[in-house]
């Protein structure tokens, strides 16, 4: 089989993996080598579905000995099967990298024969890249649950980031849909990667040339919408993963109907929950950068997102006692909680008010967008002149903004002539 055909099959089989980031590690160029890595990562193109393509995301092979119901590569699925050789894949990566198509390699794999055997093939590929081709760019590798810890460790020495997919948000769902995988088999390598990375960091403080194990940390992914967990359950799980397993990222993947298994939603007419996935990512950002806790975003009375409203506005409307925030006096953390003001806006506000008090005109010139923020802030004790609103009308106006923004399916276009909108 030609490399072109293998690439088509193995990229197609890998595309449901959401993660394609190349961030978290800084590495300068090496004489005689090829490649660098930057902390913020780099997107090289965006596919027709709007997702960033940063890494060459392929499977080593799609021969699989497991039969997970939600997965296209399950052994009971009748699809063409193939595998790269380590040399083919290394050569392809280097040639794509030279042309600036990609930032590095994302190597995952179906389980060929056994987790150990698969991991060994992956290690061979990465070793070829790192030593023979002196590849200095980004590598993300999938740790295969059930592989020998020694092999996972070796993989982590060659890769920048490791990931183990927890696949489904609860043990019950896992038992139902992925009978060959167990919760403990997934969390064991996760804990190993966490401890290995911490140990490696400690050693690097003592010895400059200590081996670096997964310097860009680890990430994971779960499928949303295939099983009945609530948003609150998923978000608390996410928070737990960040805290307990020190993950860099948790990815969510709206379930795509790839199978007609009896335990899965029927594929006919199934709409992937894209908006729900979007809300989860918004909430994930609030957890990681905005100082929110999962309990604040969704509580017992609100186990699921209000899909018509972003989670930050939703929280703000449920906490009128926190507002208005005075932009000229409030802490950075308080300004961050204002809907419509992000990290960049909050930082600019804190800088600019050192020079002199800020007015609403000044805020606009800073680049702060007022459509959401105006309901929640004061400048020198005053709200935006001429603004009239009550709690209900704010909800209506904020959800109206959302409709304009997402514009896609499931939303109704606002119309002057449509009586039931006002």
């Amino acid at each position: 089989m030609e490399v072109m055909d293998k690439l088509t099959i193995l990229a197609d089989a890998a595309k449901y993996d959401a993660a394609c980031t190349s961030s978290g590690v800084i590495r300068g160029g090496k004489p005689g080598g090829i490649g660098t890595a930057t902390n913020s990562g780099c997107c090289h193109t965006f596919s027709a579905d709007g997702r960033c393509v940063s890494l060459l995301k392929v499977l080593y092979t799609n021969h699989c000995c497991y039969d997970c119901a939600y997965c296209v590569n399950r052994r009971s699925n009748d699809v063409p099967r193939t595998a790269f050789t380590p040399r083919e894949l290394a050569e392809l990566t280097i040639q794509f990298y030279r042309r600036n198509y990609i930032e590095g390699l994302f190597l995952s794999s179906a389980v060929l024969k056994s987790p150990d055997f698969t991991t060994e093939r992956m290690i061979e590929t990465l070793r070829l890249l790192r030593t023979e081709y002196c590849f200095n760019g980004y590598i993300h590798a999938k740790a295969i649950p059930g592989a020998d810890p020694g092999l996972t460790y070796e993989l982590g020495l060659l890769a920048d980031r490791l990931s183990v997919n927890i696949e489904l948000p609860s043990e019950g769902s896992l038992r139902l849909l992925a009978p060959d995988k167990s919760k403990s088999a997934i969390f064991k390598p996760m804990a190993q990667i966490r401890d290995g990375a911490a140990q490696s960091k400690a050693e690097l403080k003592l010895y400059r040339h200590a081996p670096r194990f997964a310097p860009a940390g680890q990430s994971t992914q779960m499928i949303v919408g295939a099983t009945p967990e609530s948003d609150r359950h998923i978000l608390s799980l996410t928070e737990g993963l960040y805290q307990k397993y020190r993950l860099k990222r948790v990815f969510f993947s709206a379930y795509m109907p790839v199978s007609d298994h009896k335990n899965l939603p029927a594929p006919m007419g199934f709409q992937p929950p894209l908006l729900r996935e979007h809300r989860l990512y918004q909430a994930d950002w609030l957890l990681r950068f905005y100082g929110f806790t999962a309990q604040e975003i969704l509580d017992e009375d609100h186990p699921n997102f209000d899909e018509a409203l972003d989670p930050k506005s939703d929280w703000a409307l449920r906490h009128p006692e926190f507002f208005p925030v005075e932009v000229n006096r409030a802490d950075y953390e308080a300004i961050l909680r204002v809907p419509g003001i992000g990290m960049r806006g909050a930082r600019k506000i804190v800088t600019a008010r050192r020079y002199g008090p800020l007015s609403f005109e000044g805020l606009k010139r800073l680049g702060v967008v007022m459509k959401r923020a105006q309901y929640f802030i004061t400048c020198s004790g005053r709200m935006l002149p001429g603004l009239r609103f009550g709690p209900d009308s704010v909800y209506r106006r904020l959800t109206g903004l959302e409709q304009g923004a997402s514009g896609g399916e499931g939303w109704q276009q606002l119309s002057l002539f449509n009586g039931d909108v006002s």
Binding site: T45, V53, R99, R365
Partner: protein, 269 residues
């Protein structure tokens, strides 16, 4: 009311600034050599490297190194009449000191900062969206940016491909970046034509196009989201949106010729 006419270089601009500070002139316009005559009295100044260097050093010493960088980077943006805005900032900087950098809600400062943000965004985009073709072992590519980002991209690519020979041409500003195994240089250039690709290059282009097509999930097609992240203006030089024929008919250049020029003088990265 006066206007300045200068050669479009940073040194030329600083020479005009020196003149304006010294004479107290309040220019209302800056003109390039090819621009049409203005309504006002026009002063034509040749770049004075000595004055430019002294003023440039003073920006760092008397205001701050960050302020100096703000002016130098600001000059690379495509802000219309950026010279007037930067002159205003230099005046304020010399008067008030580094505090001026905090005045983000000032109209002039806000304008320059917005232009800078857009320039860094373009720089960030192009770090990823530049495409090279391997033509006889030399990696050749082309960009058409709004801002003059080539000087900012240069060190990035020189370091990343430190073992390669590179040519990157900026169509908008007629500038070529040449790098030979980590040593690089920027040269003015025009009339650049890219030679035809060999079989191997075509094979990798085809594989990249296939990969790009394959990786999208049909059930999630979202062209609006795609355009938000990757505006369409970048696509006309990106391999995955072009056929080989289009690439060869549109991408100008004669890389072999350009490479013969002196590109071994080492510039500080």
């Amino acid at each position: 009311m006066t206007a300045y006419r200068y050669d479009g270089t940073f040194a030329g601009f600083l020479t005009c600034v020196w003149d304006a500070l010294e004479s107290g002139a309040e220019p209302v316009e800056f003109l390039l050599p090819d621009d049409e005559a203005a309504l006002w009295e026009t002063r034509e100044l040749a770049a004075d490297a000595g004055r430019a260097r002294r003023l440039y050093a003073a920006l760092s010493r008397r205001v701050s190194p960050e302020f100096q960088a703000l002016i130098a980077r600001g000059f690379l943006t495509c802000l219309p009449q950026k010279e007037l805005a930067l002159l205003e900032l230099i005046r304020r900087g010399l008067r008030e000191g580094d505090r001026v950098r905090q005045d983000l809600s000032d109209p002039v400062m806000a304008k320059v900062n917005l232009a800078l943000t857009k320039m860094w965004t373009e720089w960030d985009h192009l770090k990823g969206f530049v495409r090279f073709s391997d033509l006889d072992g030399c990696l050749v590519g082309e960009i058409e940016p709004k801002n003059r980002v080539l000087p900012l991209l240069a060190s990035h690519f020189a370091e990343r491909y430190s073992g390669e020979r590179l040519v990157l041409y900026d169509r908008t500003h007629h500038e070529v970046f040449l790098s030979d195994r980590g040593r690089w240089k920027l040269l003015p250039g025009s009339d650049f034509r890219m030679g035809p690709a060999g079989a191997e290059e075509r094979a990798f282009r085809a594989m990249w196009r296939t990969y790009y097509q394959t990786i999208a999930i049909e059930g999630r097609l979202n062209p609006k989201c795609q355009s938000t992240h990757m505006p369409k203006r970048y696509r006309h030089v990106m391999t995955e949106f072009l056929t080989d024929e289009e690439m060869e008919s549109r991408l100008p250049g004669q890389p072999a010729k350009a490479l013969e020029k002196d590109h071994t003088n080492q510039l500080p990265p």
